[in-house]
Symmetry: none
Subunit: 190 residues, 4 copies
């Protein structure tokens, strides 16, 4: 039974992430519940408020970021350039756009970034990524002026959900931007 419940919870998070990434952060929770195959009340039992669900989605993404950073550690010494490229690829595939839009709702009156509960949740990912960036910089694989938050926000910006007619009109753009960002991130001398 416990396993069942945990599985259900995971399903909700996953579907919520996909929907956030696809349709933006303002999807109705009914839609999330329906997509997850549960009743709306079940969703609320697991996530007492919309913010809690957003929180969980962010946590999920953060875990993935940390995992991706960990993966990179192995090739870091042998081929730092490839390591950076792989990491950026992983991040790009990660639907960080969902993260960005998901925040929208809390943002209302928030002034102080540090105060956001999301900031705290993100911190471990930011820290891990910053450590990695430090290594990469030392090896000249990335630009000096690049912070973990910069990278996360940049990738999120590039991969944010796009209104479908737009996406259809210029489907290659996200890849172009990703390539451009990768080239730029490696630093001067183009």
């Amino acid at each position: 039974m416990r396993a069942d419940a945990a599985q259900r919870r995971e399903a909700i998070i996953t579907h919520a992430r996909h929907l956030f990434a696809e349709r933006g952060g303002d999807v109705a929770l009914d839609a999330v519940a329906a997509a997850s195959g549960v009743g709306i009340a079940t969703l609320y039992r697991n996530f007492p408020s919309r913010g809690d669900l957003v929180h969980a989605v962010v946590q999920d993404i953060v875990d993935q970021i940390i995992h991706a950073v960990d993966q990179t550690q192995s090739t870091l010494n042998t081929d730092p350039a490839a390591a950076w490229k792989d990491l950026l690829s992983s991040l790009t595939a990660m639907e960080l756009g969902a993260l960005t839009d998901g925040l929208a709702l809390q943002a209302g009156a928030v002034q102080d970034l540090e105060a956001t509960p999301l900031a705290q949740v993100q911190q471990p990912a930011v820290d891990a990524l910053n450590d990695l960036l430090a290594e990469l910089k030392r090896r000249g694989a990335v630009r000096e002026a690049l912070s973990a938050l910069d990278v996360i926000v940049a990738v999120a910006t590039i991969t944010r959900p796009q209104v479908s007619p737009i996406r259809g009109a210029a489907p290659g753009v996200p890849d172009q931007l990703a390539e451009a960002y990768f080239l730029w991130s490696r630093g001067q001398q183009a």
Copy 2:
């Protein structure tokens, strides 16, 4: 009073554009009206449906794009690289993000991009930009594989409204992305 009304209409469009760019395409029309200093019914007299307002905002942006393209023509022959750089700067400063999000509302059931009334309104801007790109490509100032729509969507993606805590966390990202895109667009043989 006719002049007054026209001025008011312009004010509404301007404020709507700013709000779309700042808070996304789903701002309450009440907020637009309030920001414009008019009652909600006045907004509705000028733009009978939300779609009409979006349409006007898009039109406004399209006009600006065309104007920017025109401005570029003068330096096109003397210094194509500078011309391209200036144009991209202009576009970046133009809040194209508002355009992107504004479309969201119509997008509901839209499958065919060409059918969108917005597509038609955009066409002149796309055509003008494509003509310019052709010239620039001939002069080797930009990558071959770059269409007007690509450029517009890319800039829109980069400058899309960003949730404020995010913006605060990594304020330099849009500029970084713009720079990256500029470098890439010139077609460094990658």
Copy 3:
């Protein structure tokens, strides 16, 4: 100029009456103004509130009722049955339905019929018709138990505006009801 204004006022009343009769008492005043070929403000100059316009429409109808009653006086002695039939025809052709629906708006909190301003305006018509009915009853042309208000309300009920699909489905009904009412009103002792 005075003639012009008076003419305009009449035009508004006439169009209002038609629209009330056609589409019911809840037509937008904008529509009345447009149909009358004047601006909304002109309508309001002539009729400071919606109630005033309704009042004028009722007055107009009342005048027509009185006129119809007067017309009947001539044949009253020679052929009372024909007189009654003609009067009922006239009333039926008079769009009394407009009157009924026009009242709807004032009706909100009205308890006392006598207090209604419309009641007062109607009084002359009611009186004239009652006098005529008295004569007709004396001559056995109509049922004893028939008051002027009964007749007016009955005709108004029969000729009230009908939703178009309904009208299309059974177009003969108003005439059938008019015929039925006429027969009944003569007091055939069934």
Copy 4:
């Protein structure tokens, strides 16, 4: 809770029917909800659009018409005249006026009566009544030229909601019209 909900749904339909019949088809849905003792959102859960509520009310009335027709079958052979009289009584007591006004909302652009979803819902009632009328005509109890739709529309017209001051002024009129229509419908050759 399922039973509870069904009951509530019935309550909404009943109250809507009364309000339509009393105040016309343009009552605020808030009022319907309040009268039914539920919140506005509950009404919308049961009837996603105003049209759906109208539809349900019509369905309710149609059911009653069919029931009334069925009831009549028993006395049809023994006393056709009484059967017809009873049926007309039943219809008159049925608030068909609600039906008529309820249609108003859909009517906007409707040209074709057959296309109306309401038309389809009504069809069974129309068919049943037409069958009965055929029998009655065979027995000479009603006029030849009388269709089911004629009867329904006529009764609806007679019992349509009346603005209260009017009703107060001539309370006997609906009964008078009903009597008149009954007499006429039997086809006394006048």
